[in-house]
């Protein structure tokens, strides 16, 4: 049995004791909750600099209106965005989720600006974009393409440098920031700044350490390449399909962005011709921390505690307190096998 640090803060002693009794065996059985603190809250929890919130801005662009037909409509971006928003709210306790469907350039910028204003110190902020992307081969500059983009007029696009600036502003305020971009050439956002391999997560202090440090991470659906729109008629792009697959079938209460991206990269590469990439936003203060996804259903629903009575904070306490009681492991849900669609490079022979 691995040991995990935690501290429980409650509004009163009774609640504290009750919560410890109810949750401690479950949390220990999940094996990975180091550095995560739980506390009871009132339904309308006050927001302050000491409280962390999970916030997300989800953008999906299908209905392109380009009169030049340079940007044809997409099939799955809106569905992808809705599914991501749903899973974040339902499984991962994102409280502040804004979904933008078929967004124009100004709508995207206004939404990011609004999100930035809401962010406080310990927040975890996720931006997701699904839509057309563009790489100017002459200047090597990448763009998101909003639905009101016109032909090759770059001024109607959303430049990578602008996206990075906005992300930088959010990152200055948030504890953890994660950008997920499912568009062609989205790898150009990374500027070659990538992380090493995901470290072993078997060590007790891993989550504690990475949650304590600031993170500004980026996951992209591909490198500098085209990416597919509809994976095996699933209604999702390959990247988002496997992203959803990982998030929904994740059986751990805690999964980091690097773990998530590693699994998704592998699955996408195994099943399509695109190669997702991940890394950090250069110059935004990333301290090799990790955006942490907390799957609350595992920890909370087992004991029947209402979600609105439990708040999970990802800022880490230095405590190494260990709960010694063991509890039976929660039953694992079977992993859904992804539909088969393979790219078969010809068998090489001499």
């Amino acid at each position: 049995m691995k040991s995990f640090a935690r501290s429980l803060r409650t509004s009163n002693k009774t609640g504290y004791i009750l919560l410890v009794i109810l949750l401690a065996p479950i949390l220990v059985s999940q094996n990975v909750l180091a550095g995560i603190s739980l506390r009871t809250v009132e339904k309308a929890a006050p927001t302050s600099s000491t409280v962390s919130n999970y916030r997300a801005l989800i953008i999906g662009n299908n209905d392109y209106q380009d009169p030049d037909n340079r940007w044809p409509p997409l099939k799955t971006a809106v569905t992808d965005a809705r599914a991501i928003a749903d899973i974040l709210k339902s499984y991962y306790n994102f409280q502040d989720v804004t979904v933008l469907e078929n967004a124009s350039r100004s709508e995207i910028l206004h939404a990011i600006s609004g999100l930035t204003r809401r962010v406080s110190n310990n927040d975890s902020v996720l931006l997701y974009y699904a839509g057309h992307g563009y790489l100017d081969m002459d200047t090597n500059k990448g763009y998101w393409v909003p639905v009101d983009a016109t032909g090759n007029d770059h001024t109607t696009f959303l430049r990578n440098s602008t996206i990075r600036d906005e992300l930088n502003t959010i990152a200055n305020r948030a504890k953890h920031t994660l950008l997920i971009s499912d568009s062609c050439f989205s790898g150009s956002l990374l500027r070659g700044v990538t992380r090493g391999p995901v470290p072993s997560v078997d060590q007790d202090r891993y989550y504690q350490n990475v949650a304590a440090k600031k993170s500004v991470q980026i996951i992209t659906a591909g490198g500098v390449e085209f990416v597919d729109d509809n994976y095996a008629d699933s209604g999702h792009s390959p990247f988002t399909y496997f992203l959803l697959n990982e998030l929904s079938n994740n059986n751990k209460p805690v999964i980091t962005a690097s773990e998530l991206s590693s699994n998704v990269e592998q699955a996408v590469a195994n099943n399509s011709s695109q190669n997702p990439e991940s890394g950090v936003l250069q110059g935004a203060g990333d301290e090799l921390g990790e955006f942490i996804f907390l799957k609350l259903d595992i920890a909370v629903e087992v004991k029947g505690i209402p979600k609105d009575k439990v708040k999970v904070d990802v800022h880490v306490t230095p405590s190494t307190e260990t709960v010694q009681q063991e509890a039976p492991a929660a039953a694992e849900e079977p992993q859904a096998a992804p539909p088969k669609k393979r790219q078969a490079i010809p068998l090489p022979t001499l």
């Binding site: 011709s273 669609k341 393979r342 790219q343 078969a344 010809p346 090489p348 022979t349 001499l350």
Partner: protein
């Protein structure tokens, strides 16, 4: 190519493969059947006699590939009858006599057993246990060329449905006839092509394949062979 070095290199490669954490543990198995047509030209020289030979044929190739994670293995059979109008490759008997051959048909067959691993997402190294069989119709003489080779293959997407791919490799060969070794040789192969993802399960390929072989017989004679052709393929992944 030094065959001892080749075998050692192969063993080291597989040792390295086995030491790498396998992606296969979490990856689904995929099975692909493929068929290729290869309109090919077989040209070459009989070194001592100075004769050159030249024939065309369309080779049929059937292959099976099984992939799990980064690992893959596969079998390939291909062959055709090449009709030589004029000089043909000389037949070197096991007692060391070169029998000139002309206006004949050579039935050529190739068998490959391939093992490979993707060390990177788009690049893999593979080992190929290869056997080539040539049978001359005029005399019934046949020779086998057995060997082990190593190669590298890679791919890169160029659009949503098109993928560029290529492979390069070399193998050392033992030449046998009637159960006796009569020489050795080597083969180098280059393949470049494009794959088109027609459906979720079907792929079409078009490419060029160049196979260059050099045979050195124990009787001192040599032959050079070059088989170059277009590769038109279809494959289906279960």
């Amino acid at each position: 190519m030094n065959k001892k070095n080749l075998i050692i290199t192969t063993l080291l490669t597989f040792g390295l493969i086995m030491s790498v954490h396998s992606r296969a543990e979490e990856s689904p198995l995929d099975v692909t059947f493929g068929v290729n047509l290869q309109p090919s030209t077989w040209k070459g020289d009989n070194k001592p006699s100075g004769t050159s030979f030249d024939a065309n044929a369309t080779q049929l190739q059937l292959n099976l590939r099984i992939r799990k994670g980064g690992f893959y293995t596969g079998l390939s059979f291909q062959g055709a009858s090449f009709d030589f109008d004029g000089a043909a490759p000389e037949q070197v008997t096991k007692i060391g006599i070169n029998i000139p051959s002309s206006n004949t048909t050579v039935e050529r067959g190739e068998f490959d057993l391939v093992f490979g691993y993707y060390f990177w997402k788009q690049v893999s190294f593979f080992a190929d246990f290869k056997r080539i069989t040539n049978k001359w119709e005029d005399t019934g003489y046949s020779a086998r060329y057995n060997g082990l080779g190593l190669g590298v293959t890679g791919w890169h997407p160029v659009s949503q449905n098109w993928v560029f791919f290529g492979s390069l490799g070399f193998a050392g060969l033992d030449i046998e006839t009637g159960g006796d070794n009569i020489g050795d040789g080597d083969v180098g192969t280059l393949v470049l092509g494009f794959l088109y993802k027609a459906t979720n399960h079907s792929q079409l390929t078009i490419g060029l394949k160049s196979q260059q072989q050099t045979y050195k017989f124990d009787n001192g004679s040599e032959q050079e062979h070059g088989i170059v052709g277009l590769v038109l393929g279809y494959s289906y992944t279960l």
